[in-house]
């Protein structure tokens, strides 16, 4: 049994080593996307990371470090800014998401996050930077609400204000109508 497994191991490693390139390593591509259509102060900002391994061997000790959102301007709603994976298989991808909340409006430059990984067993740590979104404009909540809030209160107040103009004439008409309606019924 052991002879068989050792032979098998030897065969697999031979096959793997000699048929592949001399440099069999992992290569990671990291995409960082802001999923928001509008980035609004005080509302959720969704950032989605995807790490793809386009190399031919698993990437080990993958560590994603996000330091571009400083705590003065962004509050973490949900998610961890720095996470680690044990390994990413070749051809596979992993994803990570965080939810932030901008604390003030203005222009922010969203730069790249850093991922470090080990491309192969005997290699050093490789640093790869993600995609950078660039400059985004965080709009203040007043502007956003003007366009997208349901305005229930505003319409409610408007309805209350229209009630006198509509119902007072109706009431007057109805009282006179009922008076004269009664007399018509008598004649008939």
């Amino acid at each position: 049994m052991w002879k068989f497994t050792s032979l098998l191991v030897a065969f697999i490693s031979l096959y793997g080593c000699c048929t592949a390139d001399t440099s069999e390593s992992a290569h990671l591509l990291v995409s960082k996307r802001v999923l928001n259509e509008y980035v609004v102060e005080g509302r959720d900002l969704t950032v989605s990371y995807a790490i793809y391994n386009v190399g031919s061997s698993p990437a080990t000790s993958v560590s994603l470090v996000e330091e571009t959102f400083n705590s003065d301007d962004f509050e973490i709603v949900s998610g961890q800014l720095s996470v680690r994976w044990q390994s990413i298989a070749p051809g596979a991808n992993v994803s990570h998401n965080i939810i932030l909340k901008p604390l003030r409006s203005g222009v922010f430059n969203i730069t790249a996050a850093m991922v470090t990984y080990q491309p192969s067993e005997d290699a050093e740590q490789q640093v790869v930077y993600s995609t950078a979104f660039g400059e985004t404009y965080v709009m203040d909540s007043k502007t956003f609400n003007r366009k997208h809030a349901p305005h229930v209160l505003d319409w409610g107040i408007f309805g209350l204000m229209t009630i006198p103009t509509i119902f007072l004439p109706y009431a007057i008409w109805y009282s006179t109508h009922s008076k004269y309606d009664g007399s018509k019924a008598k004649k008939l």
Binding site: V9, A10, S48, G79, H148, G159
Partner: protein, 172 residues
């Protein structure tokens, strides 16, 4: 040629050893926080997030979890200080329907057992370390189901129609 052979054998042994060194988690206690996208304007796709702080009675080092949802297994990344395991996924809004999403968490042993069962296509009896249920309400616009402006317009039209009908009745 021989150097590559040695490296290959070493890497295989190392990968086996990594698997073996991961200790199983006994008596998992997990507190989880969940998040899912609520507003369509603030995210072009629906994001589901589960953050779990896991405590095992045997305090294993290098605990890495795997999450199983809808029969698919995914590795769960953990925070740099090893305290929180965060599992998240992204789905287009149309596919992210309302309902309860059940996520089962397994440690390495459980993961290996599940994969074996999946490969041999038999139902696995493996019990998850813990389970998290995410109740998601499909993301939509803020506010009422019908836009308030629509309600205002229909109310105005109704009033106008009633007034016109009454006026015509009076004129006959």
């Amino acid at each position: 040629m021989s150097w590559h052979f040695i490296v290959g054998v070493l890497s295989l042994f190392l990968s086996f050893s990594v698997l073996i060194s991961a200790e199983p988690c006994i008596d998992a206690q997990a507190t989880s926080k969940v998040y899912s996208t609520a507003n369509v304007l603030l995210a072009t796709e629906s994001v589901f997030l589960v953050e779990s702080a896991v405590k095992c009675s045997n305090n294993p080092k290098n605990l890495f979890l795997y999450a199983e949802i809808d029969g698919n297994l995914y590795p769960v990344p953990k925070s740099a200080d090893n305290s929180v395991h965060q599992f998240s996924w992204v789905k287009p809004h149309k596919k992210a329907k309302s309902g309860a999403y059940v996520i089962n968490y397994y440690d390495e042993e459980g993961y290996a057992a599940l994969r074996k069962a999946q490969r041999s296509e038999e139902k696995s009896e493996q019990k998850p370390l813990f389970t998290v249920t995410l109740n998601h309400k499909a993301a939509g616009r803020e506010g009422l189901w019908v836009q308030t402006e629509f309600i205002a317009v229909t109310a105005a039209l109704l009033v106008w129609w009633f007034a016109t009908v009454t006026k015509n009745k009076m004129q006959e």
